[in-house]
């Protein structure tokens, strides 16, 4: 599981909560760092914020789609701006506006993992 967010508390607490549920969690502060992590670690899901410095969540999704090694990874998109027009790439499977409830995210994670094709 890779959690990407430039906001300290969002990142730390989401990572803490997911780790508490037994997931192996990596973290990154922006899209660039996320791509570096993805180059090193294999993850089942990326949970990313939209607005971030250097590389935002939208660009991260686009870059992942353009990389055959990452294109299959489902992305959960989060954003503090509650807008319908947040760019949605093909790999985005769920969207949550912040503040988000962990139980909703966890339910989405389980749903995604359940529906994911076996490797």
């Amino acid at each position: 599981m890779l959690v990407v967010d430039d906001e300290y508390a969002s990142l730390e607490v989401m990572a803490l909560m997911l780790a508490g549920e037994g997931f192996r969690v990596f973290t990154a502060n922006d899209g660039e760092q996320a791509l570096q992590q993805l180059a090193m670690e294999s993850v089942a899901i990326v949970i990313t914020d939209y607005k971030m410095p250097k590389m935002d969540g939208s660009e991260l999704c686009r870059q992942m789609l353009s990389d055959p090694r990452l294109a299959h990874i489902p992305v959960i998109f989060t954003s503090a701006t509650y807008r319908q027009d947040v760019p949605r790439a093909k790999n985005v499977v769920a969207f949550f506006s912040k503040p988000l409830l962990f139980k909703d995210v966890l339910a989405a994670v389980h749903r995604i993992l359940k529906s994911a094709p076996s490797p």
Partner: protein
């Protein structure tokens, strides 16, 4: 790939309130705490933090939620519960069945703030808590590497509360003077409990210093700890915003029960107005109040005497002596007497008590004996006038006709100056009851100083306290004689001579 799912279409839950269930506190908070927000309740030892914290938990469970009470370095759970078990909110059956007590100091000591945060996460999720109390945040401060680390912890705690929609309350032994501490700046709400002293009496107070994103009542309010635990008495003038107005101003006149006074008033006072009877001790003010309530009850109108001095027994004896039927009216539910020493309650508890009694007894006439009782109950004397303004406004809005008794410092003279500055502007009618010395005799005069928007007799009249109560002379002749021959009058009115024909 899974279809994209948009969640949380409705954001109303962001400011969803969770009622505290504590009397007066939900009024102060205009509905309760915000779900998923984090609050800091601070105060010196003894101000009521632990009682409030526990009561919040018990009430939360009673209202259908689940709560966890987490302690760091505080008194043992057993000792704390022992102290609480006499309070009415305490319910042993919910402990470990909706309310859990958790010690978290070890996690903090061994794994510092990260360990504590993870403990909080586990407790919230394992207990399915919708309210979390963390009692004694000071050890977390002490074990934080620095202020930044503590800020990080509080922000993470805030995020954890929001993400789990669990309202979190921190209890801290600190005051608003420590306003630069990280906890103060990072939390969603700040509530301070304090002591206030006035005339060697100590009152507990509560003040909401910060409440993000939602309305609340400003200022300091009285907090009481009794057998029911904590209750809050919001300041009346904040609570009653004057938004209630009577359907229409009534033109109906109500008799005071003193026949010639009613003649002087051209038929009595208007319904829903407030009158003041101003006079020296023993001048007959309380007797006038008894007439007023007795006459109302004779006509089937319930009346309430809200008093500070005369006990119910003594008052009924006085009523019997002058032939009034308050004792009989009391048995029929048409007369009630609420009596309390003035030093026992603060202003707002008195105000709440008065309004509750008016509601309970369905009183249409109220006598307050006297204004001095409110003055002596005020922590801040300058507040009395604002309080009285709000109280009278509320009584008027309920179309209740009120007689307020106020004592002058001198037995006679044009003492129009009320001891509460400006109170005469707040009432529609003002009656002056004076003593005057004529030779060896003390004689009494009554005059109507003001009756707003209504004609009235301008002459003063002599009155007598007899076996039938107050009896007013049929005309102003004897009053003119009193004024003409009174030594007091000559002494006191050299600068402002008054016509014996009027006031």
């Amino acid at each position: 790939m899974t279809e994209i799912s948009q969640t949380q279409p409705d954001r109303a839950w962001l400011v969803e309130r969770t009622k505290t269930g504590i009397s007066g506190l939900d009024t102060l908070l205009q509905g309760g705490l915000v779900r998923g927000a984090i609050y800091l309740v601070m105060g010196r030892p003894g101000t009521g933090k632990t009682t409030l914290g526990n009561q919040l938990c018990f009430e939360h469970v009673k209202l259908g939620g689940r709560a966890a009470y987490m302690t760091l370095l505080a008194e043992s759970h057993a000792a704390m519960l022992k102290n609480l078990h006499t309070m009415s909110f305490f319910d042993e059956s919910v402990i470990n069945n909706g309310l859990s007590y958790v010690g978290a100091y070890r996690a903090l000591r061994d794994e510092k703030l990260r360990g504590l945060l993870d403990m909080v996460r586990r407790v919230i999720l394992d207990e399915k808590a919708t309210l979390l109390l963390i009692d004694g945040i000071s050890p977390a401060r002490a074990l934080a590497e620095n202020d930044v680390a503590l800020k990080e912890f509080v922000v993470e705690l805030q995020m954890l509360s929001a993400m789990t929609n669990c309202t979190t309350v921190l209890l801290a032994n600190m005051t608003a003077a420590d306003a630069n501490d990280p906890e103060h700046t990072m939390v969603d709400g700040l509530i301070e409990l304090a002591f206030e002293q006035f005339r060697r009496r100590t009152f507990r107070t509560i003040e909401v210093l910060k409440f993000r994103g939602t309305r609340h009542l400003l200022g300091r309010h009285e907090l009481e700890i009794g057998s029911d635990g904590v209750s809050v008495h919001p300041r009346l003038e904040e609570l009653l915003d004057g938004s209630i107005t009577p359907a229409s101003a009534s033109n109906q006149r109500l008799l005071t029960g003193v026949r010639e006074l009613d003649t002087m008033l051209r038929g009595g006072v208007l319904r829903g107005t407030t009158s003041v009877a101003l006079g020296f001790s023993g001048s007959g003010k309380t007797t006038l109040g008894m007439h007023f309530l007795n006459t109302g009850a004779d006509a089937g109108e319930a009346g309430l005497l809200f008093g500070f001095y005369e006990s119910p027994d003594r008052l009924l004896q006085s009523s019997d002596r002058v032939g009034l039927r308050l004792r009989e009216h009391a048995t029929r539910g048409l007369f009630s007497h609420v009596w309390q020493p003035s030093y026992q309650f603060g202003l707002d508890r008195l105000g709440a008590r008065l309004l509750a009694e008016v509601e309970r007894t369905r009183a249409k006439r109220v006598v307050i004996d006297s204004l001095d009782g409110f003055r002596q109950s005020a922590i801040d004397p300058a507040r009395t006038i604002r309080f009285i303004t709000a109280l009278f406004g509320e009584l008027r809005a309920r179309e209740i006709t009120t007689l307020l008794i106020d004592e002058t410092l001198k037995p006679s003279g044009p003492e129009m100056e009320m001891r509460v500055e400006g109170i005469s502007a707040l009432v529609e009618n003002l009656f002056l009851l004076e003593y005057m010395t004529v030779g060896p005799k003390m004689r009494r005069l009554i005059s109507i100083v003001k009756q707003r928007a209504s004609a009235h007799e301008s002459n003063a009249r002599e009155f007598f306290l007899t076996g039938r109560g107050i009896e007013v002379a049929p005309d102003a002749a004897s009053a003119a004689e009193v004024v003409a021959h009174s030594d007091d009058y000559a002494d006191r009115h050299n600068d402002h001579p008054r016509s014996p024909e009027g006031v």
